[in-house]
Amino acid sequence: MTEYLIALIEGVTPAADEQARLMDARAAWTAQLEKEGALRDTERLRDSHEGRRVHRVGNTVHVEQGPFTEPLASYWAVSAEDLEAAVALAKRLPVLPGDTVEVRPIMKGSHDPKKTDKTGKVFAFEVLGNAPNEEAWIRLMNRIDAETDNHATRDFISGLRLEAPRTGRRLVTQQGRTVVLDGPFPESKEVIGGLFFMRLPSLEDAVAWVSTLAYVGIGATEIREVWRS
């Protein structure tokens, strides 16, 4: 069994009734995953306009305020036999036309499904990067791994690292049909390489913490508060 990240990237904000229906349908899908023993972890992130992106150019740290294009809305970490089985699970996730679902193998990491049961704000840190080729991508992510390992503190909850983008799949719904595309290639834009969680008093604390990391040299870190859902 391998673990996979099913990431939902929402395209449009639906009307209120559709929103309610969709939330109920996704809750039912999540409950089904849990029943089947496939669910490892899931969260919904607060809207990206509340988020921040931190990246470094030379010695200057840049902090960009959301909204961001193609923001991660929710994710499910699941275990499945292989990539095809994970894609089959992802196909059952209720989506709207315009939504995108990414399925990415998880290289290593830990889960804490009860991360929002403790006090304080919980923040998700998306490690974004791009590299000209796979070797460069892996070198970049190795560096990030080492950096974040050194910085792990009492506030650290859990985190995971994804395999290279090439190994994933992308599901797009067009005219009622779901099309499965090959993994996103890092040349085009910044792609998520990892995801970790920390419990901190405020967004300012989260930005301050990320700003101390040396790795932000080539990629960026997107900080998003985890919704208590």
Partner: protein, 399 residues
């Protein structure tokens, strides 16, 4: 810059004041030190720039003011232990910060204070409302409000009201008092007897307080139920009156004007409240969700609303809830069934204008004369726009 500053300080206020309160054990001193730190921020940030962690900056400066005040009063030695503790600002663990904030909330809403004082103190100390703002919001003189606050603070000092966060055993009872205060603040903002000046501020503050509680007590279902109820209700706030200030009934409100962000906020909180096993606030949020997510008035799921009211009545019987349930009965089974559901409620609700307004509406739909009931409602109503609506309905009746 200035608006940004105000917003930031309002957001951080509770956290900083809570820490100061823990350090000195005196609400007045904590508030004073915070005010001093604000003044420093306002004079220095515009030229120095906003610090990377504004809350930490304000905390450090406020603690320094606290120390200075003690030194001037010659109490430095007596509080040496506390002084040492706040000598250097260190980022504190999330739990410690949360504990400080909970302690402050539970103190302001202490059952020994009485609800009026709880509300005033919460808004003053945690939300940073001025005495003037509070007196306008609660329609009393500034002197009365100031007196109320002084008395409440004195009670805390003299009765040595427990500074600790209540233990698991007392938590639900004490939490009920806190939630009641938050909901009261919200309703004051939502319904307000007259004057719209402070309403939006009160509503926003109630939501902010509830959101803070969801962070401090993330496994308490009713905290999420109340937050969901308020967010789903607030989502409709802007369409409740028209441009001239006249009441617009739910059936006639333009649904496209409802606040989508607030709706999602409410639905997500409701999802968690359900999962944790909510109570009366959660059931009320279910009803609010039915109304707020129906695409049209005609599509309102009255059967689900009726079921939620039945559950609510079983949970906490109340004539006002029974009155609302009667509306759901009328919408699912017709005006005669609605009137039957109202029959037992006249005695307990004989002073409540909405009982008569509701029965008048049912009578009108049943083809009977509602005149007497409209008149009874008019004799009891206090809100100007509701009065105007009743007068209009009465005038529409054939002589």
């Amino acid at each position: 810059m200035e608006a940004e500053l105000t917003e930031l300080l309002r957001r951080e206020r509770g956290r900083v004041v809570a820490g100061l309160y823990r350090a000195c054990g005196n609400l007045d001193a904590a508030e004073e030190a915070f005010q001093q730190a604000l003044l420093s921020a306002v004079s220095r940030w515009p030229s120095d720039g906003v610090p990377a962690n504004p809350a930490a900056w304000v905390t450090t400066v406020a603690h320094n003011h606290l120390k200075q005040a003690w030194r001037q009063q010659g109490v430095a030695e007596a509080k040496a232990g506390v002084l040492a503790e706040v000598e250097v600002f260190e980022p504190r663990a999330v739990e410690a910060v949360a504990d400080d904030q909970l302690r402050l909330v539970f103190t302001c809403c202490h059952p020994a204070l009485g609800q009026e004082a709880q509300v005033a103190l919460t808004l003053k100390v945690i939300a940073g409302f001025s005495v003037d703002e509070l007196s306008r919001a609660f329609l009393c003189s500034e002197a009365t409000m100031a007196q109320r606050l002084v008395r409440a603070k004195r009670s805390i000092e003299t009765q040595r009201l427990e500074l600790a966060v209540p233990g698991r055993r007392d938590l639900s009872e004490r939490l009920a008092a806190v939630l009641a205060v938050v909901y009261l603040v919200f309703n004051e903002g939502y319904l307000g007897h007259e004057g719209a000046l402070m309403r939006v501020e009160l509503q926003r503050e109630a939501l902010r307080l509830a959101r803070l509680l969801t962070e401090l007590l993330p496994t308490e279902p009713e905290v999420f139920g109340l937050y969901a109820l308020m967010a789903l209700t607030a989502a409709r706030a802007s369409t409740r009156v028209d441009a001239r200030g006249a009441v617009v009934l739910l059936a006639d409100q333009p649904r496209s004007g409802w606040d989508r962000t607030a709706i999602v906020e409410g639905l997500v909180a409701l999802q968690r409240a359900r999962r944790l096993g909510g109570g009366t606030y959660t059931l009320q949020a279910e009803i609010a969700a039915c109304h707020t997510t129906a695409p049209t008035w005609q599509a309102t799921p009255w059967d689900r609303i009726l079921a939620a009211y039945d559950a609510l009545l079983a949970h906490a019987p109340s004539p006002v809830v029974a009155l609302n349930r009667a509306v759901a009965v009328m919408m699912t089974a017709g005006p005669e069934a609605g009137l039957a559901a109202l029959a037992a409620l006249e005695a307990p609700l004989s002073r409540y204008h909405l009982f008569f307004a509701t029965r008048a509406d049912f009578l009108r739909r049943a083809g009977k004369s509602p005149r007497h009931d409209y008149q009874a409602a008019l004799a009891l109503v206090t809100n100007q726009s509701e009065r105007a609506l009743l007068e209009q309905r009465l005038a529409e009746l054939r002589p």
